[in-house]
Each structure stands twice: as structure tokens, then as C-alpha cells.
């Protein structure tokens, strides 16, 4: 006989006071948050030493939903804020969960420079191809020809290939999954949390209510079917060739390397400077 349980086994990771969440039916953000807390649980991460930072947008609410120290910054600035947190207290695990517009349009500069410096922060990007919270405008990852409220005649901007951008900027761990690949995503988030350097996962996430509505995928199921049909797992393939098209989404791990983090170099340098100061 099974016993009734009063609480979900993962409920300690979420703030009940913040529920209900704001996300639409069919939205992928819940899947991403679910994978994240599963990864925390499987690794038994010390929740007192974890900080979740997010920017503005639908997924930006994830910081508030996670029952750890969390901060919801201004639009585009979670990585810059997280840089300050990580350097001020390198013992903290600092995770940025935000969206494609927040991290790569208004906040793009912070992303490439944090990756270049190899600051040990971990970035999870929910890429839903548009600005969902403001009602579905074109963004830096919107596919060519896609319809949005501000590209009513079809998008003429070439989208970013985020995994290529992250790899080129110097990220030490780079992966892409869709919300269909829940187990791989969870596995990947566990790796992200175990790496020392700047690490990045792009999660292709369905936005049927806003993006899908304009692009002939009105339900979450239809968007997930698209992911299923076109995604190809190719681990450690060339990220430059991983452009997302309607016909193909290459998923998998692209980069997994080690190099000294900013914090390591900084603290080595400080130790050396202090030692020289004593010898003088």
C-alpha cells in the first residue's frame, strides 16, 4: 500500500509563497526549472551556498521561484550582477537563469565578457525565439522569416547561433538541448554545476501562446513535435555548424574544457602580491 505524501519530494527547492507561477500552458520554463531542481537534488547541492540570479522576461521569475538566495535584476544585467557576487564570495555557486533577449540582446555584452574572463558563473538560457513577456516581439534568436508582432511581414534579421557565440567567447562548457530532452538536460545541468569555469546551456523552449501562435504551432505539443522531428543529437560537433533552422536543431554538448578561472588567477595573483609585500 502506498502512503500519501503531503509534499512533493522536490518542494523544498521551491518557494511555495511565490506560487502560482506566471507561466502559460505549454510553456517550457517549468520543464527547465524542473530539470534544474532535479540536478540540485541529485548532486545534493548545499542550498545555503547557491545563488540564483535572473534578468527580465518570463524565465526571469525562476530566481524567485527557487528557494535559495536569489536576485531578480534589471533587464540584461544578471551576468554583470552575478560577476560581482562570485568575485565577492567565490565559495558561492552562482547560477544565472534568463532568456535569449535578456542575455543576448540587451545583455549580450556582459555574456561575451564574462565568458572571455572565464568567471565561474553558470548560465542557463531559455531560448523561446521571441520576447514572450511583452507579447511576442522579434529577438536576437528569432529565425529568419518568422512572424512576430514586430516582424509582421517575416523576420529579416539573421539569428544568433548561441552555442557558437558562447564557444567563440571562451565558455568552458557549452551545451544545447530542447525541453524535449529532459534527461539529457538534467545531466547537462549537473555537469554545468560541477564545472569550475564559465558554463553555458541553451535550452530551446516552447512558447506556444506567443511565438507559436504566430508561427503555426499553437500548442505546446505542436512545438514539442517540431523539436522531436528536427533535433539531432551530435555531441562535440562543430558549434559553428549548429545554426538553428526550421529543418534542423543540433543538440548535445559542444565544449567541455578546463582553463583557469578569473577567480583562480585573481587569488593566485593576490597571494603572490601579498607575499612579495611581506618580503620587502
Amino acid at each position: 500500500m502506498t502512503e500519501a505524501v503531503e509534499q512533493h519530494p522536490l518542494s523544498k527547492y521551491l518557494r511555495a509563497a511565490m506560487m502560482p507561477h506566471i507561466w502559460c500552458t505549454g510553456c517550457g520554463n517549468g520543464i527547465i526549472l524542473n530539470a534544474f531542481v532535479h540536478a540540485l537534488d541529485e548532486l545534493q547541492i548545499n542550498l545555503d551556498k547557491l545563488v540564483v540570479v535572473s534578468g527580465i522576461g518570463c524565465i526571469g521569475r525562476a530566481a524567485g521561484y527557487t528557494n535559495v538566495d536569489s536576485f531578480h535584476t534589471t533587464h540584461g544585467r544578471p551576468i554583470a550582477f552575478a560577476t560581482g557576487v562570485k568575485l565577492a564570495n567565490p565559495q558561492l555557486e552562482v547560477v544565472v537563469i534568463s532568456g535569449d533577449g535578456d542575455l543576448f540582446a540587451i545583455g549580450g555584452n556582459h555574456f561575451i565578457h564574462a565568458a572571455r574572463r572565464n568567471i565561474g558563473i553558470k548560465v542557463i538560457c531559455a531560448n523561446n525565439f521571441n520576447y514572450g513577456m511583452t507579447g511576442g516581439q522579434v529577438g536576437p534568436t528569432t529565425p529568419l522569416d518568422a512572424l512576430t508582432t514586430t516582424t509582421p511581414y517575416g523576420n529579416i534579421e539573421h539569428p544568433f547561433n548561441l552555442v557558437h557565440l558562447a564557444a567563440a567567447a571562451g565558455a568552458t562548457y557549452v551545451a544545447r538541448w530542447t525541453t524535449l530532452h529532459v534527461r539529457m538536460l538534467t545531466m547537462s545541468i549537473k555537469k554545468l554545476l560541477q564545472r569550475k569555469g564559465f558554463s553555458f546551456i541553451e535550452v530551446i523552449s516552447p512558447c506556444p501562446e506567443i511565438y507559436g501562435r504566430h508561427n503555426k504551432m499553437r500548442t505546446g505539443l505542436e512545438m514539442m513535435e517540431w523539436f522531436k522531428k528536427v533535433s539531432v543529437i551530435a555531441n562535440f560537433s562543430d558549434p559553428a555548424k549548429a545554426e538553428i533552422t526550421p529543418e534542423k536543431i543540433v543538440v548535445g554538448e559542444f565544449v567541455d574544457i578546463e582553463k583557469p578561472t578569473y577567480e583562480e588567477l585573481l587569488h593566485n595573483k593576490m597571494a603572490q602580491i601579498m607575499k612579495e609585500g611581506e618580503e620587502e
Binding site: 536576485f71 535584476t73 560577476t83 560581482g84 597571494a271 601579498m274 609585500g277
Partner: protein, 384 residues
């Protein structure tokens, strides 16, 4: 590892920018994020050299937006944090200054004012950002701004800025100008134990009872930091005492924003500092701040020698504005003269507080600050 002393007790000859950097380190600042900009660059350069020796962090960010964001992050992670910039960078920081005000992040922002608008005159002094300091970010909030008029004050007021930021959990500005920043003068750094240092209030409630934005009687909430086990949330959205977003509640919005204003307004008498010289019987009051106040004091002394009853009112605190001091000085005065390196900014506040006493503005742009003789001439012209 002990490193170098944080407080360089002794008598020094240094520039205002260096004195500011030393003041920050003496105040306990251990995090600086910045971006090079004339005429504030030397603050970053000096901090970059000194911080590692006292166990602190210096990072040059990709822009000023990132700099202030990192400062707020470091503050929430428990360090005293600062950035330094000039007008263009100060403009870029404004949105996150609002975030610091909204999330009550103690931090210090130094603005070494040059000529604006836009790129303006990078190497010349200005006082054109004093209204931006008060009103630069959107929405209602209060901040604290100090105006040093000597290299010694670049040291002293930077320490004071940290103490005020920590006391009131508010972004606090050191509104310097290019002259006090680049000038070299004698600076006396007292022994460490003689320097008053204030640290933010910590919560004495257990984590499960902690409400991160529940104020004490002084309207300031005690501040837990990341990693201390409190597991709290902070957001730039309108939030309740628990830090949870309440974006549809007029009651929560009113209560929060009013408190953010009141914690400074109702403590204004404790915060405000002015220098008063020969005001007891002054018929002509010169209201001047920053480097201009040095020339103004000289002009007031010369006017006295010529039989004109002149006095100086120098706001050390620009914001909150020392309204009561101006009103009191205006009661006996026939005229108030306001020399400023702008087209008329603090003069509007003076007019409001002067309650009918004549106020004459003396703008100066695009060159060195007002000379004592120029101010004396103005006193003689308007003092009749």
C-alpha cells in the same frame, strides 16, 4: 598573509582621486568595479594597485552598466563596494542606481564631474550632474550625495559616504569635480582606530522568520547577505516585506516607495552637514559647493575686508538638500548668490528654500572654476 596596511596613517601629499581611493579602502571597501573615464580614471588605477595588497577585489568591467551591476552584486554578497566614473558613465549607471535604491543595496558611486552634456569637455571641471544625482533614475526614491571641496575631503567624505550607505542601505554619491579630483594637496590620514566606521545592520531573527525588507523603527531593514543561510529573494519589482513581487498592489507600492523616500527624508537632520562661515550677520550669503566654495570663501573674506557683510553657506551634503540651513540664512540676508559650474541647478533648490529672498545665479561653463575676484565682483554688484 597580512598584506599592506589598509589605513595609511600619516601626512601625505596626494591627488583628490588618490585620496578618494584611500578613503574607500580605509572605510572598508573591498570591491571596486569600474570602467576608465576621464577625470576619474586615477581612482581605478590607484585601487587596482592597492586592492590586492589589502585582500580586496578590483575588476575592470566592460562598461559602466556592468560596473554598477557588479557593485550591487558584491554588496549583496557582503562586501563594501564602490565604482567611480564621470558624467557619461554616470548616465549609463542610472537604471541600476534605481535598482540599488529599490533593493536597498549599500554602495558608493563617485562621480568626478566634467563638462557636459554628452562627451562634452572631458578634462575640464563641471557641476552639471548634481540634479542627475538626485533625479537620474526613474521613479521616486531618495539618495545621499556629498560634495567634497578639498583633497582632504575626497578622503574624509568617501569614508562618510560608505558609513551613510551602510547606515541607510542606500546608494550614496561622492559628487566631486575635476579640480578636486586632479588637485594635489596635503592629506592627513588619522590612525585606523580614530576613523569612524559603520557596518550595515545584520538580522537577529532566525532564517525562517527573516523578512528581508521589514524595516526597524529607523525605516531601514537589517540586511542578510548571500550565503549566510537566510535564502531570501530580492527584486527590482515592487515587493513586499518578504521580497516577493507585488506588482498589482497599490498598497504595497505606496508603503514601499514612501518608506524608501522617508528613510532619508525623516533622517535628513542626522545626515545633513554644512559648513557655515560668517553667516551670523551676513547680508549677502554665498551658497557654493565643491571647488567653487573655496573661491567663494576667499571672496567672502575679501568682501568683509571691504565692509560688506558677506557669509558662506557650503553644503557638504547636496542631497538631502539642506533646506533649513538655507531658509535660516535667508531670513537675515538681502541676497543669496549661487556660483555654480552649470547653467543653474542647485540654485533652484536655493530659490525654493530662500522663501522670497533674492537669489542670484552665477553660472560658469567651459573653463576653470569661478575665481575669488569674479565672485567678489558679483557680491559687490548684487550686494548694494
Amino acid at each position: 598573509m597580512t598584506g599592506e596596511k589598509a589605513v595609511l596613517t600619516g601626512v601625505h601629499f596626494m591627488s583628490g582621486d588618490i585620496a578618494c581611493a584611500e578613503g574607500a579602502i580605509a572605510a572598508g571597501c573591498r570591491f571596486f568595479a569600474g570602467y576608465p573615464i576621464t577625470p576619474a580614471t586615477e581612482i581605478a588605477e590607484h585601487i587596482a594597485a592597492r586592492m590586492p595588497k589589502v585582500g580586496g577585489i578590483y575588476i575592470q568591467m566592460e562598461d559602466e552598466i556592468a560596473s554598477i551591476a557588479a557593485v550591487i552584486g558584491a554588496s549583496y554578497a557582503g562586501l563594501k563596494a564602490m565604482t567611480a566614473t564621470s558624467g557619461p558613465g554616470f548616465s549609463l549607471m542610472q537604471e541600476n542606481i534605481g535598482l540599488a535604491a529599490m533593493t536597498e543595496a549599500p554602495c558608493v558611486i563617485v562621480d568626478v564631474m566634467r563638462g557636459g552634456p554628452s562627451t562634452g569637455q572631458p578634462t575640464l571641471p563641471g557641476q552639471q550632474d548634481v540634479m542627475q544625482a538626485k533625479w537620474g533614475s526613474h521613479g521616486d526614491y531618495e539618495i545621499i550625495a556629498l560634495a567634497p571641496s578639498s583633497v582632504q575631503e575626497m578622503f574624509d567624505l568617501t569614508i562618510e559616504a560608505f558609513n551613510l550607505a551602510e547606515t541607510y542601505r542606500v546608494p550614496t554619491f561622492v559628487m566631486a569635480d575635476e579640480v578636486v579630483a586632479h588637485m594635489w594637496e596635503k592629506v592627513v590620514i588619522p590612525p585606523a582606530e580614530k576613523i569612524r566606521i559603520v557596518n550595515r545592520k545584520k538580522p537577529n531573527t532566525p532564517p525562517d522568520k527573516y523578512a528581508p525588507f521589514m524595516p526597524d523603527n529607523d525605516l531601514v531593514p537589517p540586511m542578510a547577505c548571500f550565503g549566510e543561510g537566510f535564502r531570501f529573494h530580492a527584486t527590482g519589482l515592487t515587493h513586499d516585506e518578504y521580497g516577493y513581487p507585488r506588482t498589482q498592489s497599490s498598497e504595497v507600492q505606496m508603503r514601499l516607495v514612501q518608506r524608501l523616500c522617508d528613510k532619508i527624508r525623516k533622517n535628513a537632520d542626522k545626515i545633513i552637514r554644512v559648513e557655515e562661515q560668517m553667516l551670523e550677520d551676513a547680508e549677502i550669503v554665498v551658497f557654493a559647493y565643491g571647488i567653487v566654495a573655496r573661491a567663494a570663501l576667499s571672496a567672502v573674506r575679501k568682501a568683509r575686508q571691504q565692509g560688506i557683510k558677506a557669509g558662506l553657506l557650503r553644503p557638504i551634503t547636496l542631497w538631502p538638500f539642506p533646506e533649513k540651513h538655507v531658509t535660516k540664512a535667508a531670513e537675515k540676508a538681502r541676497a543669496i548668490i549661487v556660483p555654480e559650474m552649470n547653467c543653474g541647478q542647485m540654485v533652484r533648490e536655493v530659490e525654493r528654500a530662500a522663501k522670497g529672498t533674492s537669489v542670484f545665479h552665477m553660472p560658469k561653463l567651459g573653463e576653470e572654476p569661478h575665481t575669488p575676484m569674479e565672485i567678489l565682483e558679483f557680491i559687490r554688484r548684487h550686494g548694494k
